[in-house]
Symmetry: C2
Subunit: 84 residues, 2 copies
């Protein structure tokens, strides 16, 4: 069993209105030191796979097909072996 | 300037219907090795602060007040010094 942490973020060239809104709200709350906010998604998967290579191959495919939108988003992931 | 990575996740005791939906979709796409999915948020902030202690104090307060809902969510963050 593997624990996979997936981070999906907008590509740097893509506008992030949600991040802009969060930044504005933080400024409104007087956190004026915040210069930029970019929003992303974080997912934690428990994955059954025979080895790390298969896990990695599957995660890559899942990101391309469902978890991220490769047109506007980029992703990275970390795979760690779970104890069970 | 500091780069702050904030990870907001649901507390383990809180049901995650979005994660369940993603898991079901992955099973439908034949990724049946996926045993569990938990969804979270990932934010990247650029923060002006005089030192790491002030940055950390501010991020903590921002998480408690806006970025996370402390009733159902937990958060963690990493602070790295940006080069500029």
């Amino acid at each position: 069993m593997y624990t996979v942490k997936v981070y999906v973020t907008l590509k740097p060239s893509v506008l992030d209105p949600q991040g802009q809104a969060v930044k504005d709200s933080l400024h409104y709350l007087d956190y004026t030191g915040v210069e930029d906010v970019r929003m992303g998604k974080y997912m934690e998967l428990q994955l059954r796979a025979s080895d790390r290579g298969e896990a990695s191959k599957n995660v890559e495919a899942m990101c391309e097909r469902l978890l991220a939108n490769p047109v506007i988003e980029q992703y990275r992931y970390e795979i760690t072996e779970a104890t069970s």
